[in-house]
Amino acid sequence: MLYCHSLGIYTKIGIYLNGFSHRLMTSDSSELERLHSLDPQAISAIHNQYYADIYRFARFRVSDEATAEDITSEVFIRLLEAVHKGSGPRTNLRGWLLRTTANIVNDHYRKLYNRPAEDPTVIHENSIDLYLTQEDPVLILERAEKIRVVQRALEKITDAQKLVITLRFANKYSLEDTANIMGKNTNTIKALQCRALVSLRKAIESDLE
C-alpha cells in the first residue's frame, strides 16, 4: 500500500541489470601487481572498472551527488595511499574498495550526527536544477522524498545489514558476489538480508507514522 505507484520502474531495472552478473569477484593478480607498482595504466583501468560501482554505493547511501562524488574520490585516494604504504588489497580489490566506501560513508554520517545542525538525510534539492532537467519536477521531488525515507531507515539498521542491502539493491550484486565481498557464506547473507528487510520495514513504518 505504500509503494504501488513505484511498480512501473521494474522494466528499466531489468534492462540495466542484463550486463551485470558476469563480474568477477576476485581481481586479477597481475592487475594488483601493477597497482602496487603505481602503474598509471593499471590505475586508470581500475578506476574505470570500479568508479561506477563505488559511486552507486555512495550515492545510494548519501543524500546528494556532490557528497557521493567526494566519497568516491576519497576511496581511490585511500587505495593509492594504502598501496604506497604496502597495506593495500592483496586478493579482492573490489571487496576492499566497497568496504572502504562503506567505512567512509559511515564516517560521513558520524560527523554529521556529531553536529546535528540539520537532518543528515535531508535531500539537497539544490543539487538538482529543476529548470534544466528534462524530467518532471514532481517526479524528481517524489523520488527525492523516497530516497530520504530510505536513507533515514538505513541509518537505523546495523552496518552489516546496511552493507548487504546496498550491495544487493544499489550495486545489484548477486547473493554469491555479496557473500564474497562481505567474506561470509551465502546462507549467512540470506539470513542477514532477511533481517535487514524486516528492520528496514519497521524503520520506514515508524518514520511514516
Binding site: L7, Y10, G14, S44
Partner: protein, 460 residues
C-alpha cells in the same frame, strides 16, 4: 522453516530483480504470501532507488587527480630509494607529522590563525618603522608614543629606564624643532632647562618660548622653588608659524625641597604636609626615619609628585673652602659642645642666594622664617651674618645685613679661625685633628690681618 523462508525470499528477490512483478512472486509462494508481501515491498522500494546516472565529468577529474597522486607517490618512492638522497632526514619529520595527525581537524583553523598572526607581525613591524618618523598630529604618532611607553615600562633596570626617558625627552625637543621648521601649528609638550628668561620671552632647550598672559606657571611645593634659569621644566604649548612655542603651561619638572620627614612608608613620603610618591626607582638613604631632616629630589608628574631621591640632609662640615683657608683641611676646625645655640657672627662675601640657604665666603647658612635680612643685599656684597650653630653642626642665619668692613672681612675671618684653632689647642691638647665640624668664633679683637697660606705657618 526459517531457512526455507530466507531461501524463498532470496528466490523472490532474484525474480523481482529480473523484472517479475511482485504479485507473481506472491502467487508462486502462497503459503508465505503475507510475510513475503511486506518484505518484498521493502525490497521493491530499495530496488527502485537504482542509481543510473554516473557523473562522467567527476569521474574524469577524479582519474586525473588519482594519476597525479600516483606520480607524486611514485617519485617520492624513487627519491627514498636513492642512497645519496637525504631521505633519512625525512623519517623523523614524517614521524613528527604522523604524531600530529590529531591536529588534522584543526589544520584549517591553525593555518588561518598563523596566517593572520603573520600578517599582523609584518603589518605591525612596518607600522612601527613608519610611526617612528611621525610628528605630533600625524595619525601614527600615538603608536610611536605607545611604543616608547612600553619600552620604558619594560626597561630591565633603572639605568636603562633613565636612558630611554632621556632619549625620548630629546626626541620631543627634536619634534618641536621639526614642527617649527615645517611651520606647523601643533600642540606639543617637551622638557628642558631654562636657559634664559627675558620677560615674556624664555628659552628652554634652545627653543624660544613665548609666555602668554594666561600661561600657567607652576612652581614647586608651596612656591618654595621659584622658577629661575637653570631649572628643569616641562613646557606644554603650541608651535606656531612664527617659529616659536606659545606656552600654555610651564611647570617645574624636577626640583628639591628640604624638610622634616613627617611620615615615611614604602609608598609615600610626607614632608611639609605634602605626600610624595616613592617608586621602586627612588633612591633612599638608609636609616631615614620620621623626624629626620631630608632633601627630597622631586619629579613633578601630571597629577602627582614622585620622589627621585630622598637623602638624609647632612649639613656641611665647617670646612672653610675659600683659598685662604683651604689648607685648614689638614686640621679641620671643630666647635665645642658649649657653642650650641650660641650666637656667632661673620663677615663675608655673599656668593649664592637660594630660598633655603645663602653661601657666604664658601659657608652655607640656612635661612629660616625668623631670619632677619636687610634689604638691598645682592650677590658679591660683603655682608655681616649673625648665626647660631645647630646641634648637627649646621649654621642657621639669625640676621643678615650689609656689612661694609672695608674689605677686611676675609682677614678677620681668617684671624678668628686661627685664634679659634689656638684656643682649641690650648683647651684640649689631646684632641686629635679629626673633627665632626667646626666654626669660626666671633671675636671682639679682629687683630691684624695677615696672610696665612699654610696653616702650619700660623702656629705660634
Amino acid at each position: 522453516m526459517k531457512q526455507k523462508f530466507v531461501d524463498i525470499l532470496e528466490q523472490c528477490i532474484r525474480l523481482m530483480i529480473t523484472g517479475v512483478p511482485l504479485e507473481n512472486c506472491l502467487k508462486k509462494f502462497p503459503d508465505h504470501a503475507s510475510e513475503l508481501n511486506q518484505l518484498l515491498k521493502t525490497a521493491e522500494l530499495m530496488n527502485s532507488l537504482q542509481v543510473e546516472k554516473i557523473p562522467l565529468d567527476a569521474k574524469a577529474q577524479n582519474q586525473m587527480k588519482l594519476l597525479a597522486l600516483a606520480e607524486s607517490l611514485s617519485s617520492g618512492s624513487k627519491r627514498g630509494k636513492n642512497i645519496f638522497s637525504i631521505y633519512w632526514l625525512d623519517l623523523p619529520v614524517r614521524k613528527v607529522l604522523q604524531s600530529m595527525d590529531f591536529l588534522r581537524p584543526l589544520a584549517g583553523g591553525l593555518i588561518l590563525a598563523l596566517g593572520i598572526a603573520g600578517i599582523f607581525i609584518i603589518f605591525s613591524g612596518s607600522l612601527l618603522i613608519t610611526s617612528a618618523k611621525s610628528l605630533p598630529g600625524d595619525s601614527l604618532y600615538p603608536v610611536k608614543r605607545v611604543v616608547e611607553d612600553i619600552k620604558v615600562y619594560l626597561a630591565p633596570s633603572r639605568e636603562v629606564r633613565n636612558e630611554y626617558e632621556h632619549v625620548y625627552s630629546e626626541e620631543r625637543v627634536d619634534e618641536v624643532f621639526e614642527l617649527m621648521g615645517l611651520a606647523r601649528e601643533q600642540k606639543i609638550s617637551f622638557e628642558g632647562i631654562i636657559s634664559s628668561m627675558d620677560g615674556s620671552n624664555w628659552t628652554v632647550n634652545d627653543i624660544p618660548v613665548f609666555i602668554q598672559p594666561d600661561t600657567m606657571i607652576i612652581v614647586g611645593i608651596d612656591g618654595a622653588n621659584v622658577m629661575v634659569p637653570g631649572m628643569y621644566v616641562e613646557v606644554d604649548g603650541n608651535t606656531s608659524i612664527q617659529g616659536r612655542v606659545y606656552a600654555n603651561e610651564i611647570h617645574l619638572r624636577e626640583y628639591q625641597i628640604i624638610g622634616i620627614v613627617e611620615e615615611i612608608s614604602a609608598e609615600t613620603l610626607k614632608i611639609w604636609g605634602i605626600p610624595i610618591n616613592i617608586s621602586p626607582y627612588t633612591q633612599i638613604d638608609p636609616g631615614i626615619k620620621v623626624g629626620d631632616e631630608a632633601t627630597v629630589l622631586i619629579r613633578s608628574e601630571d597629577d602627582l609628585l614622585e620622589a627621585l631621591a630622598i637623602l638624609l640632609e647632612m649639613h656641611p662640615e665647617l670646612t672653610i673652602k675659600t683659598d685662604y683657608s683651604s689648607e685648614n683641611t689638614a686640621t679641620q676646625l671643630k666647635y665645642s659642645q658649649t657653642d650650641y645655640g650660641d650666637e656667632q657672627s661673620l663677615f663675608g662675601t655673599l656668593e649664592i642666594v637660594s630660598p633655603d640657604y645663602w653661601v657666604v665666603s664658601g659657608q652655607k647658612f640656612y635661612i629660616i622664617s625668623d631670619t632677619e635680612i636687610s634689604e638691598e643685599i645682592s650677590i658679591g656684597d660683603v655682608i655681616y651674618v649673625k648665626y647660631i650653630i645647630e646641634p648637627n653642626g649646621s649654621f642657621t642665619a639669625v640676621e643678615i645685613e650689609v656689612g661694609d668692613d672695608g674689605g677686611i672681612s676675609r682677614e678677620i675671618d681668617q684671624q678668628e679661625t686661627l685664634e679659634h684653632l689656638e684656643d682649641q689647642d690650648d683647651h684640649d691638647s689631646s684632641e686629635d685633628t679629626e673633627s665632626d665640624g667646626g666654626v669660626t668664633d666671633e671675636s671682639e679683637d679682629h687683630g691684624e690681618p695677615e696672610e696665612a697660606a699654610d696653616p702650619t705657618d700660623n702656629q705660634p
